[in-house]
Symmetry: C2
Subunit: 231 residues, 2 copies
């Protein structure tokens, strides 16, 4: 009878390969290189995963949700983009590319399982492999598009439109119209002050588009909210 047991390491590699979309385009040697170095971890909601100019490594989400944001000198936050299952966070490894000249903070918005790919391993792969380099290009272009969307929102849209768009996006992400979120949280996503959000939400409540209770914003009229968001 053959020995059929698979080692734990081998199992983990098999799993990682399903989440790393260009696995099949790596050479056996490159696969070994990355498999030997990635680490899987489970973190609780609220964990700060990256918070400085250091090279934490690339974060690949297995399940859960991450948020990246920037911080002003006065401590104000604004969300840059979110990461969901199978998304890769590049900017937690700024040393991978010389031209990355900004810092983001990455936190877990939900309990999250993720792999960390060490920056030096990833950089070696990028240098060797056109598929890895082009995958990186696609990821960066995708994040770039999200940031350009943010620029347009901030430049051209008033705060009422932005709050309405944010609530609709949150409902889509959470899959429910009942959002467990504080006014402070919303302000931190949008880069504004809590008071501004509270004023806006009260206006929305008077218009019948949301219902406010402690720690909860319930969307009661999506259509009207979509009109407000200018969609």
């Amino acid at each position: 009878m053959n020995e059929r047991r698979i080692s734990q390491e081998c199992l983990e590699t098999m799993e990682f390969s399903k989440y790393f979309p260009i696995w099949n385009q790596l050479t056996p040697q490159q696969r070994e290189m990355i498999a030997a170095k990635v680490t899987l971890q489970a973190v609780k909601k609220g964990t700060i995963l990256h918070n400085d100019t250091d090279c934490t490594g690339l974060l690949l989400v297995k399940s859960g949700q991450l948020r990246t944001f920037i911080l002003s000198n006065e401590g104000r936050e604004v969300t840059i983009y979110r990461l969901f299952d199978r998304d890769l966070c590049l900017f937690s490894a700024p040393c991978v590319l010389h031209s990355i000249q900004f810092d983001i903070i990455v936190t877990a918005e939900k309990d999250t399982e993720l792999w960390t790919i060490p920056a030096d391993i990833y950089r070696q792969l990028m240098e060797q492999s056109a598929p890895v380099a082009n995958y990186t290009n696609e990821i960066m272009a995708s994040r770039f598009s999200e940031v350009m969307w943010l620029v347009e929102q901030v430049m051209w849209h008033s705060m009422d439109k932005r709050v309405a768009a944010f609530l609709l996006e949150e409902a889509a992400i959470a899959g429910t119209d009942c959002l467990h979120i504080t006014h402070e949280n919303i302000a931190n996503h949008l880069g504004t002050h809590r008071e501004v959000v509270t004023r806006m939400l009260r206006y929305f409540q008077n218009e019948g588009t949301v219902k406010l209770t402690r720690g909860i914003v319930e969307l009661t009229n999506r259509e009207k909210l979509a009109v407000l968001a200018g969609k």
Copy 2:
């Protein structure tokens, strides 16, 4: 006696190779592929080089100055980044990467000489060559850093700081304290209204940091302007 004349095409290729920093990392076949297809042109200040979702191609500046900006539905502009000698514009060829989901407009801010690299040729090179793909990554990361700077400016800085920073940047680019620029131009760079800029400049003039004459903004106190810009 040997024939020493070099063909015009050969001369142009030699020139292009000096401006394309990874030329030496291309195979002879790849060099031929790109050399046969790039076109050099001279355009006047004010020429619109790219203005839609089409794939104009990648623009490599030989000499001059380009400006990329986005436009709101109401016709307001905001500068995204500028391109100088040896800079490559990627986003004038959005079809090169699937994930580029935004449109920019590219115009010549000065009389400019530039090469256009057809998007399909560049995409083929990227797919084949890790050096080309990684060069593209560096360019995108560099533009990403500029856009993140813009986000920080717009999110955290008041308009007086932004106008002061813009004037200092312009003086650095132009190499003079005497800027030939209208209030409308400044507003279009910063995504605001002319009236806002005029009000700001008059305040600066009262503070003794600039002197205004028709079509000219002269910086008369850089140090004070730098303090205003928060530098």
